[in-house]
Each structure stands twice: as structure tokens, then as C-alpha cells.
Symmetry: C2
Subunit: 321 residues, 2 copies
């Protein structure tokens, strides 16, 4: 199993360090301040600084995983360029196109495959993490052309080791999808929380399940939500425009004919589709990793809502809903 | 304790029949079809028809509670006008201004005080109900001028008997508040579910907590949601306009400066206010029910986010956050 070097030991990086270690991998990390101390106190191997961690990674041909917030990516990549310029490189940042562009610009020789485990952001820091955070989560791995398949196998194998299943997607498809199912929900939760609060104490005292559910993620620290959503600007603008269009259509229909039937039937269908996808019987598929069109085969599984659940020397095993 | 006659034995009416009976009250109901049979089979007193139930109510000066969907209210009120035209009357319908207007038009002699227990709508019918449905729920009772205080006491006493606490509000304030904290959440959940589903199978397979929470109520039967929201047209239009304004402002800020800070800080503040109101230490207050400005005193408690939690012969006991 390939050694792993995790740069950043917050919620996600810290959980990855624990999960990779629990899976029996050689793994070490680097971070600033309290996260590094807490990880070291818990018995994990933590380098004195990023440079030291990267020197070890270069020597051992380890997989380096960036686990810092988007605004810190460029600085860390500059150290990668200095100390491990052709390393096997992945990340767990919540957007993929901006990270891929930064890698191309700053560390063009790195063998990079993007990653994103779909695990929560409500808490943060080493103390909020656990080895079980990725259990049953979806972990996106990018399959843009060109992709070094050996590194894709490294990233996928690591994700599977943590208990996640893997969704192959291009960086751009990933960013469009998370704008709809992660970033837009945060924007709408914030809007709903504000409109509700504008109703004053009476409205707040009547708020029950629908309002509590619809505003839950507005309880996340706004700095985290802001950084996450601002980092996916163009895809999020497009998702917000879709929401504005549908909300405006509902408004127009309610004002003119008094009807909200189209809005609620469409919403019910969308939600039922989500529940259906979760409960679906899966068909098993396999992708020959030695085939010339392997990336296309992997990509097709992700586009169909499927996941990679196993990996052996020549084959990726997938499930399709 | 005043006898109670419940017209309609679905989720809310059926739960009220059970809860009033469990509190030791004389209570009977009337309903069509399977709900009536199920209630009778469970040992509750169910009249053969609405007319019979209303004749008993007139004879015993009972509190009559309308527990039918808004579209059925007019027909039931016509029977009330025929058989118990000056009865003590309340309801548990999800909007208050339209019901109050229908009562004024169809049964002008009824001594009416509106009510609305804030309990869930995801399931429906007698079988979905329980005596515990209203435990700790907020139950709005209307305090518009003129209000017959004796009937207000009947309604409030019944609500307290079911384990709810009572929020005094005018019909119009109620409708504005529920537009923000109940009906708008349903509209936004439907919009989010549709925009997410438009992202296709890949987006659905990546959807996690924020999307699942934000779309939960879109799983409600769309006929129920549609009827509930369409019945509160003008207040909901105003709440949707507020949401469109805030979402449009977020869109503009993201497109121009790239910032979502204002949106997320405001949303976080709103959500924190909700959590704070729930955890707040309460101050005890009491309202003298014999005072000339009693309605004003009750109204003030509701407007401040407070609740009535007890009632004796001369005093209503309240809690303020």
C-alpha cells in the first residue's frame, strides 16, 4: 500500500490521517498550530513542517494529499513545487477546477488526480474528526484527460480504505454538481433563515420542523460556508439562476392563477428520485483498468450515478443504480 | 370541562379527539368514510353524520372544532349555520384569515376563536394521528377584536389539555408568520429538489446532508402542500418576494464582487436566533383575564415570542423568552 502524506490536519485531513492509519498504511501529516499538536499527542506521525513532510514524500514516492482550505492551496503548492515537483498529488478541497488550474500553474510536473470526499463541514479542526468520517460517503476522483491511471488507482484505493465509495467525474462536472446539491442548499438555507427572522419573535416561536430542517446548515460558521461557496463562483451562479427562475415562476403562478401545483409536483418528483436512488437495487459492473478507453468507462459510471466499490490489479468494480 | 365536538377526524382532528378524551373530556367526532370507521373501531364516540354531531353540540353548548381541509370549510360551516348557529366555534386549519372571513359570512352568529396547532403534515388520516401529537407544540389562538373571552378560554384550555402551549396572535399576524416559517420552507424545498434533480444522476449520487435536509418536506404529498400554501396566497407572495429579493442580492454580490459574506452572516444570525429562542430562560408573566385590556395583554405575549402555559379562573400564566 502506497505511503500517504497529508498536508493539513483539520476535520478532513485529520480524519484522513486517522483512517489511513487504521487501514494499516504508512501515513504522516503536517499542519500549523493546535491541529499538529493534537495529532502528535494522539500518537500520529506529524512532521515538524510542510517541507519536512514533503521531503519524506519525495523520497518514498508517497501520495501527497492537500487538505487545506482553498485560499491556502497556492502557498502549499509552492512548497510542493520546491520539494516534490513530480510527486503523486491529490487533494480533498471542495472544488476541483480551481485546484486543478492551480496545480497546472504552480506544479506542472506533479502527477495530479483531484479528490473530494462528500463529508460534513458543520464542525472543524482536528478534534472534530474521526477515522469513521468517510464511511459510506461518496468520494469523487477526477478523470479528466490526461489522467495518470497509476495515481488514480492510488487515490481510489485510499478512498476505499477509508470506507468511502468512489465517484469518477471530471473536475467541471464535479463543480457543477456540488453547486446544486451542496452550495445552493447553503445559500437557500441562509435566505430562509433571514426571511424567517425578519418575521420577528412571533414567527420564530411558531417555527417547527420545516423551518428547522430548511435552515440547519445556516448554523455552520459563516466563514466556512462563505469560503466554500465563493470558491465555486461560476457553477454556483448558474445554480442560483436556476433557483431564481423556478422561484420566480412559482411566484408568478401563485400571483396570477393562485396555483403552486407545478412547483410542488416537480419538487416532490425530485425528492422522490433522491430517495429512490438511495434505496435502489444496484447492478454490478466492472471496468478493465488495462483497456485503452478506461477513463471513459470510469467516467460513464459516475455520470450514471454509480460508484466504484472495489479495486484489484486489473479491474475496478462498480455499482450502478 | 367543556364538551368538545370535532368535525373531521384526519391527522389533526383524529389526534385532537384522542387527546381530549385522554384528558378526561366528553368528546365526540364526525367524519366521512374510513376515518370515521377507524375512530369508532378504536372505541371513540363518532356521530352518524355532521348534523347529528352538531345537534349534540348545540344541546350541550359544546366547543365545536373544524378539523377539515380549507377547501371543505364552507360546506361544513353551512351545516353549522343550520344546526348550531350561535355555537362556540374554533378550528385547526393552517390559515386563519380565510377561515375567519368564511365564518363571518356563513355563520355570523357563531362565537368564533381561530386556532392552529403547529404540528406536522407529512402523513395524513386517522391512522397517522396520536394523542401525543400536540405535546410541546405551539397552538395559536386568535385575539382579534372582538373576541369572546369565554370561548378564547375554551380553546386555550383545550389546547393546554393536549400538552401544547398557546401563542395568542391576530389572524393576520398568524398568516404572515406561517408564510415565512412554514409555507416558504415548503416552496424553497421544492425549488431545491427540482434544481438538484436537474443536475442528473451524478448530482443525486453526491447529495448528502445539506441537500437531504433542505428537501425533506418536498417528500410531503404535493396535494397537501399545494392546498396549504395556496390557501395563504397574499402572505406567501410577500414572503416569496422577500426570498427573491435576498436570493437576487446574493446572486448580484457573487457575480460582481464574488462575495457571499452578507448572505451567510445574515443567515447564520437568523438561525442562531432560532436556537437561542429555544434555549432561552423564560420569564414568568401573568395576565388578568378580568381586566378590560386583556386581549392586548395576551396579544403582547404572542408578539414577544411568548406562550401561555396555564389557565385558572382569573389568570392566564405565560412565559416570555
Amino acid at each position: 500500500m502506497r505511503p500517504v502524506c497529508v498536508l493539513g490536519l483539520g476535520l478532513i485531513g485529520g480524519s484522513l490521517l486517522r483512517a489511513a492509519s487504521a487501514a494499516g498504511r504508512q501515513v504522516w501529516g503536517a499542519a500549523d498550530g493546535p491541529d499538529a499538536r493534537a495529532a502528535r499527542d494522539a500518537g500520529y506521525q506529524v512532521a515538524d513542517d510542510v517541507d519536512g513532510a514533503l521531503r519524506d514524500a519525495a523520497r518514498l514516492d508517497a501520495l501527497v494529499v492537500l487538505a487545506v482550505p482553498l485560499p491556502a492551496v497556492n502557498d502549499v503548492l509552492a512548497r510542493v513545487a520546491a520539494l516534490a515537483p513530480d510527486c503523486r498529488l491529490s487533494d480533498v478541497v471542495s472544488v476541483k477546477v480551481p485546484v486543478a488550474e492551480a496545480v497546472r500553474r504552480i506544479v506542472p510536473g506533479a502527477r495530479y488526480v483531484g479528490g473530494h470526499p462528500m463529508a460534513g463541514v458543520a464542525a472543524s479542526g482536528w478534534d472534530a474528526g474521526s477515522a469513521a468520517l468517510f464511511q459510506d460517503a461518496a468520494w469523487v476522483t477526477t478523470v479528466d484527460e490526461p489522467t495518470d491511471l497509476s495515481v488514480w488507482r492510488d487515490v481510489t484505493g485510499l478512498a476505499l480504505d477509508t470506507g468511502a465509495s468512489v465517484v469518477p467525474a471530471t473536475a467541471s462536472e464535479h463543480d457543477d454538481a456540488v453547486a446544486r446539491i451542496s452550495h445552493l442548499p447553503h445559500v437557500l438555507a441562509a435566505v430562509l433563515a433571514s426571511v424567517g427572522a425578519d418575521g420577528g419573535p412571533l414567527a420564530m416561536s411558531l417555527a417547527a420542523g420545516s423551518f428547522a430542517d430548511g435552515t440547519r446548515v445556516a448554523g455552520t460558521r459563516p466563514e466556512l460556508t462563505t469560503a466554500m461557496c465563493e470558491g465555486n463562483r461560476e457553477p454556483l451562479l448558474s445554480a442560483v439562476d436556476d433557483a431564481l427562475g423556478r422561484l420566480g415562476a412559482a411566484r408568478g403562478s401563485l400571483a396570477s392563477t393562485g396555483s403552486l401545483g407545478v412547483t410542488f409536483r416537480s419538487g416532490h418528483q425530485g425528492r422522490t428520485g433522491l430517495d429512490g436512488a438511495r434505496g435502489a437495487q444496484c447492478a454490478k459492473v466492472s471496468v478493465n483498468l488495462d483497456a485503452p478507453d478506461v477513463l471513459e468507462g470510469l467516467h460513464r459510471i459516475g455520470l450514471q450515478g454509480g460508484r466504484i466499490v472495489g479495486l484489484d490489479e486489473h479491474t475496478a468494480l462498480g455499482e450502478l443504480p
